[in-house]
Structure formats: C-alpha cells, structure tokens
Subunit: 341 residues, 2 copies
DNA sequence: ATGAAAGCGCTAACAA
DNA sequence: TTGTTAGCGCTTTCAT
C-alpha cells in the first residue's frame, strides 16, 4: 500500500548526527562534548552546545546504554510506598548519586509483587548499574543479580542471602535499647513492646529485651508474629493491655504502630504520657504531627542513604573491594508522648 | 596491546545470539518468540524457551528500545512522595498498564526539583512512550514533550499549558460541596474552610463556597495563600479560630491539613466532633487511622488511575483522537470526626 | 514458518 | 584536537 505522507512533518527527535551536522563537526566530537571531555576547543564546544540547544536535542539513553554497556543509573527498591520513611533515605541517596552523575529509579516492592513481577528483574532489564535494596526481599528474587547490591536501612537479610551485598543500616538493636532506657530513665518500669515480623522488628525487639533484662525487669512483647501496620499496632497494644493492664510505657516497633497504640490507650481511658508513655521508631513525618507528637527513635535515614550511595560508588569502582557493613547509631527524638511535666 | 585473559570468566550476559545458537534457530526466531508472535511452530518455540531458561537470558531493554523506537514504558510524575494519596493512583494505573505490557516508572517532583533536574526530561531521556502527571507542574517543564501526556488527579493545569493533554481527575469542586453539605446536614452552620495554594485546593474551596452560599451562609476561608501541609493546616485552623471562635465545623483541603486542625482544636479545648466537626479530603491511609478516624472525601484515586491509563492507551493507539477530559465524582467516607451521637 | 540483513543512536578505540 | 570506524543487542522488513 502507498504510504500517505505524514500529516505533521514526522517529529523524529534529533540525534547526534543532526547536532554534528548543524555544528559542522563529527558525531564523536558531539559525544565528547556531551560527556564533558577535557580536550575540546572552546569554539567547537560552543558550536555543539548551541546546536544542541537550537535543535532541542536530548541524548538517547537507550543508545548510550547499548554502546557503553552502562547506564549510570541505580535502581532503588522500596519496601512500601505507604511508609514514608523511604523519602529521607532517597534524599540521602540522591545527595551523593546526583553529583556523581547517576540517575536513580525507584520501585515499590509491594506494588511490583502485587503485579506478579519481579522488581529486581525490572531493574536488571533496565540495565541498572547497581541496586539499592531498601527492603527485605525474598532471597529467591536475588539469584543471578549481576550488579552490585547495597542493602540500605535493613540490617540483615534472611539466612544464606546475598553474601556479597554491602549493608548500610541503622543499628536497630541499639535503637530499641535507646527507647527503652529513655523510658526507664523516666522511672517507668512496666514497659511493654509492640513487635512484628521481619528483621528490623526483630532487632528492635532484641534491644528492648536487652535493656529490660539489664534493668532487672521482665520483657513483655506482643504482636511479634503479626504485621507492622497501624492496625497491627492497635491489636498488639490491646493484647498487651489485656495481659498487663498496668503497663506504664510502650515501645513500638515503628511510628505507625505507635499511632495504633495511641488509639488502644485512648479506648481504655489511659492518658498519654501521664499514665502510659509511648515511643515510636523511624522518626517519620507522622511522629512530628502536632496532634500525635510522638517520641521516636531516629535511625537517621538520610545519612544511611548517603552512606549507602558512597558505598555503592566505591563498589562500582572496585568490584573486588571487601564487603562493607556499616551500622549507624540512631538517636532519640523526644516529644510529648513521653514528656511528663 | 594484548588483552589479558579475564580473571573471572567474563560474566557477560547472554544475548539473543546465544539463545539462538543454543536453540539451533536464528535470532529473528528468538525475537518472534519473545514477542509472542503467532506463527511459530511449537517445537521451535519450546526450544527457544528452554534455551532462554537455561541461559538465564533477559532481553535488553536498551537494545529493544533502540531498535523499535518504543519502550512500552510510561513515566509517572508524582507530586510529593510524602503525601501517600499517589499509592492508590499508582495501583489504578498499573491495574491496566501491566496487563497491556507497559512498565511504569515513577519520579517525585519535589525530589527531582531539589536536585535541580527536570523530571520530564528524565523520562524523555528514558524514552518513555507517554507521561502521566500526578502533579501540577511548572508549565515551562512541559515544552517540547514529544510524548502523549495525561494529567491524572489534578483537574486543571495553569493557564496556557499543554492544551493537548488529556485530563482525568476527581471533581474537586463537587467534593468540596459534598463535604460542606454533609456538615450542613448535621445541622452545623458556622463552617470554616482551610485552604491552600494550587489548583486542587482552589476547586475544593469553590465547592465549599458554593454550598455555603446556597445555604445562605457566609463562607470563611483561611490559609488560601499558604501551603497544604499538616503545619499549614494547624496554622490555618488557628487563624480560623481567631477570626471566628465559635466555628462548629471545619472542612480542610486535605487530610493532613485536617490533622493539623485537630491539633489546633485540642489546644483550644474544643471537642471533636461534639463542638467542632472536621472533614478532610483524599481518603488517605491517614484518615483511616483509628486514632484520627477522619471523615474525608474520597476522590477515588484508584479509579482515576485506571481511567487515566485507559486514556493513555487510547491516545497511544490514536494520537489524533479528540482530547479527553474526564471528571470522576467523589464520595464521602463518614468517620468519627463528624459522627455526633 | 524461518532466516538474512540493515539499521536504531550512541560510545570508544584508533587513526590522523 | 578531531574524524573514522566498528560494534552494542535487538527489531523488522523482505526473502525464502
């Protein structure tokens, strides 16, 4: 069939060829200018730059990736977009990846899994140069990852997983201790803990238990087999109150669980912090809401992100460097939920 | 120079060539199998499939994008990762884009802007076939977007922007009315509104004002020049209370602002909902927290996402189809913050 | 139903 | 300092 002449002059995007022609140079020179090569004469560089501008040229990542076998991009796998702790992590990551010329693309583990896709595969198909895991993924997802992986924010992966990955995380055990000792320092002794499944929760729980034992007190944990949402926090708090109606303080495995606990306490007519003090974990935006004003452990997610990025860059330069494993020390943010007069 | 033999057997990923060789067919056939072409004999198809499996082959998106000039990917630009309304939107988008074989990649406008990058450029460089804007972006970012754009969730762009974009959004004006009429139906008459900058807030405000006028009441709006965060909500609520200490209900431009208002009301010793009823907007996860239990307008973000995706697919098939502009009707979710008795 | 061959837009030696 | 020249891995006519 005869092709109809296109109605609009085919808006095919300009290539280096077009730029080169317009600037009166070769494509290689254009490529050099784009990559900021050092030995290009000012005149030619300027010519190329204006040609780029006039044509509205944008380099094709696909072509560049194909030719160079690298994308200068890193894939970041977030645990769950609904838990906004990742925003700070991302900010930290970008603060070092951006200046280094890397692009970051993010995906949400929950969402991907819900679609029946393997998010790691997705990044690999996109030729991400490296992966950041801000999640505790199923080990099976990680077989044959050819790219360097940094686990950020989660202290440990399941047994046998990814021995080669670098890890940059908050010291959750220390954080659990910190929260508990704060409460002990306030004179509270009947301190319960709301926990959940998964590595981070387990470490936080361990910290709580350690602090309790060292104070000669018996730990009391609920919810350890459940999830870590607001609803789970609510349920775990009810369980705690049922088992020990006289609790005087609660350490939650994260901020949203702490909010769930607030609801349970209100239902039982217990005043916070007067009768029961509450500490969360994550220092999420939630904890700072005036209406909640939650004391919380700050894992310093932004710094974790920055450090993870640095680790990544190092690993990219030197694939055989020894495995890195950094634990950042958390700090405590004291707010109204533990402030007694 | 003589190439040193690589220390590790170069772990170069397999290509269609490798697959073809192993399966004893041509590269073209492999490509056909990958694309699910109809006229391939079962035997060869099987051979190719097992070769793929044995080799752990993953197609290179870069090569495919370059050769086919399409990526089957759409870029989604989120307003702000901190406001989790986008999660439902994304879920809706993916519910139709996934089955259609499209990949979605997301970026956060705030984060990108903070890095001094143009997020739209980023998507374009990645060869996204189309863009979804779940934000109200600066018009200047959108010059020369060669790809179809669908604006999702935000009703209107600034003047003169992107006349060619399709729009799928919630009817925010209707939502504002809905919230206000609900309060009026409860017998409240001294209803104030907390507003903020930007299109969505403006529409919601208009709905509130309309409902008030139709009820013969004088609207009272604060915060219209400010932001839309929890802090802004707190400040706007204080301003409202200063101007009209006897308010009996508050409509907030979104859920986080409503939470800010709760704090202000508590500070003033006003009981919710007994003395002051509060309505939010977005039906975000926040509103469902038991401790907050906020009546809120549900824009039906998931459906907006699905509809936006359908619109996108249509546009991709037919670039010259007439511009689409759909407004979904919001509904009200009634919770404790307006439940009297 | 299957194969051959010509690119897609760019990078990276190498040559000049 | 700049130009030439091969590909990178895949898609896509066009033959067969």
């Amino acid at each position: 069939m005869a092709a109809n002449p296109p109605v609009h002059p085919t808006p095919t995007r300009p290539t280096i060829y077009d730029v080169a022609e317009r600037a009166g140079v070769s494509k290689s020179l254009v490529s050099l200018v784009l990559r900021g090569a050092p030995h290009v004469s000012a005149g030619r560089r300027q010519a190329v730059l204006s040609a780029i501008d006039e044509l509205g040229y944008r380099p094709s990542r696909a072509a560049s990736a194909l030719a160079s076998q690298r994308t200068r991009s890193v894939g970041v796998l977030i645990d769950d977009f609904r838990n906004p702790w990742f925003v700070e992590l991302l900010t930290g990551l970008r603060s070092v990846l951006d200046p280094a010329g890397y692009t970051v693309s993010v995906a949400d583990f929950q969402l991907e899994a819900a679609s029946g896709r393997n998010p790691v595969d997705g990044f690999l198909a996109q030729h991400a140069d490296a992966l950041v895991l801000a999640a505790e993924p199923d080990p099976s997802l990680l077989r044959d990852v050819g790219a360097p992986v940094v686990v950020a924010g989660v202290r440990e992966l399941g047994p046998g997983t990814l021995p080669a990955a670098d890890v940059v995380a908050g010291d959750d055990e220390c954080g659990g201790e910190l929260a508990t000792r704060h409460l002990l320092g306030l004179g509270r002794e009947r301190i319960g803990h709301l926990s959940g499944r998964g590595g981070p929760a387990a470490h936080r729980r361990r910290g709580y238990e350690k602090a309790m034992r060292e104070a000669g007190l018996a730990p009391l944990v609920t919810g350890a087999a459940g999830g870590t949402t607001e609803q789970d926090g609510y349920a775990a708090a009810l369980a705690l109150l049922a088992e020990r109606p006289d609790v005087s303080a609660i350490v939650a495995a994260n901020d949203v669980m702490a909010v769930g606990a607030l609801a349970a306490l209100r239902e039982r007519g217990l005043a916070v912090p007067a009768e029961v003090a509450v500490v969360g974990y994550d220092n999420s935006p939630l904890a700072a809401y005036r209406y909640l004003d939650l004391t919380t452990v700050d894992p310093r997610s932004r710094e974790i992100g920055a450090e993870a990025a640095r680790t990544l860059l190092t690993r990219l330069e030197n694939p055989d460097a020894p495995r890195r494993r950094a634990l950042l020390e958390p700090s405590l943010v004291i707010r109204a939920s533990t402030r007694t007069a």
